[in-house]
Amino acid sequence: MNSAPGPGPAQPAPATSHAAPPAPAAEPPPPPRINVFTVAIAAFALAAIASWPALRGSGRDLDTWGNVVRFVGYFFPPDWSVWHETVRALAETFQIAVLATVFAALLSLPLAALGARTIAPAWVAAPARLLMNFARTVPSLVWALFGVAIVGANPLAGVIALTLYSLGYLGKFYSDAFESVDAEVARGLSALGASRMQAFQYGLWPHARPLIVSHVIWMLEYNLRAASIIGYVGAGGLGAQLASYYEYQAWDKVATVLLFILALVTLLDLLGEWVRRHITRSLGVRR
């Protein structure tokens, strides 16, 4: 066996008839100092420094900590006498959030397929992505104004608003999920005679489904919080109640409403976490 001369220090000749393995290099080459990660960190640090003026405030002495203590004090103790109407409004908020999430979860599917560059050609994917960006860019409160303008001030306006808003998010999440899974499997099914639709349904979709379920749960949590706000402009749910308490500065009643929202969101968060953990554990067994 021939041993190639290495760049390391000279080795003594081996005592046996077996040749020694090639000497390793003294030091591994250093990693490149500049990479995407370091550039991103540097850009972020520069942006933070440039944004510093946003912290200057009004410049007047406003007894900031005194304000904090006073304002927080208005919320305690919460006024539990409004629990009945709060529960009723919370139920309506929940209905708005659930329906908007269900509609968006279904409608996002074809939109996301069109926006995935591994499924659709670039000239289709680009406008589909642009449409999803637009839906995401418009705030949910503005979508709520749009909903109120077309169907009037009622929960339906909220459902329309949050469906449109969620389309932007879920469409993007689905598209990213479709692009992240191994497209070779779908191509393999095509090689076995499956049509494009079948290759998508049986090759891509089951692979992306755990990710998608996780995103839909996240969207439901988000919509629940958003549905609590959009009532400010008449789109149903807790928002209208919050707006009237705010109007009369009934902060103790606002506290009750917030605690109910917190309880529901926490419950949903626990449920979502359980589902996500289950999915992760299932996938973590062997990949």
Binding site: E184, V185, G188, L189, S190, A191, L192, G193, A194, S195, M197, Q198, Q201, Y202, G203, P206, H207, R209, P210, S282, L283, V285, R286, R287
Partner: protein, 230 residues
Amino acid sequence: MQLRGLGIRRGERWLVRGLTADLPRGAFVAVVGPSGVGKSSFLASVAGLLAPAEGEVVVRCAQDGPHRPDDAEIQRCTGFVFQHNLLVPTATVLDNTLAGRLGRYPAWRTLFGLPGADRRAAYRILCDLGLGANVHRWSCQTSGGEQQRTAVARALLQEPDLYLADEPVSNLDAYLTGRVLGLLRNETREHGRTVLCVLHNADLVERFADLVLSFDPADPANWKLREVRR
């Protein structure tokens, strides 16, 4: 199946040149040669997944009429056991197997699953391959050998005229290796289907193959097709 002056190239490197052969229906053909010689590329070429650099592959399906079959027809009558299995990790073993029958139906017919008869046939094959207890587990929750058998089950359920099996027993023990190759040879004997199977073990080649197609890494034109004498 006819190979007419087939040439396959990967980049600048020729893997095979001038491969001309008639592979009779019902033959078990072992494809052999050292790693990297072009066996997988050859199977991909036969399946139409890799365009040959020269020559052509003519595949005749059993149901062919006088017309020449198009690519979709050839894919329907070609079953592939991929080297890396290409299973959906988050689909069950049963659903992965059923994917072998997708080509028989239009997309709208399989929107809500495949017919019960297909499910029963898939279950029978999975039981044959020792996977009866795993049918409802995700394939990512099964072992490498079980995944390989699932890929074989998918091809068997497809009942193709031509099997292309790329190292289908690389993760299996001796018993399961004999079982899988026995099932594939059964397909040739009982149903007149053709099998092209990449194998590395000379004993298995002698035991199961009718013909051996070997490639030479030093000379792409030095391929050899020989009969196995028993």
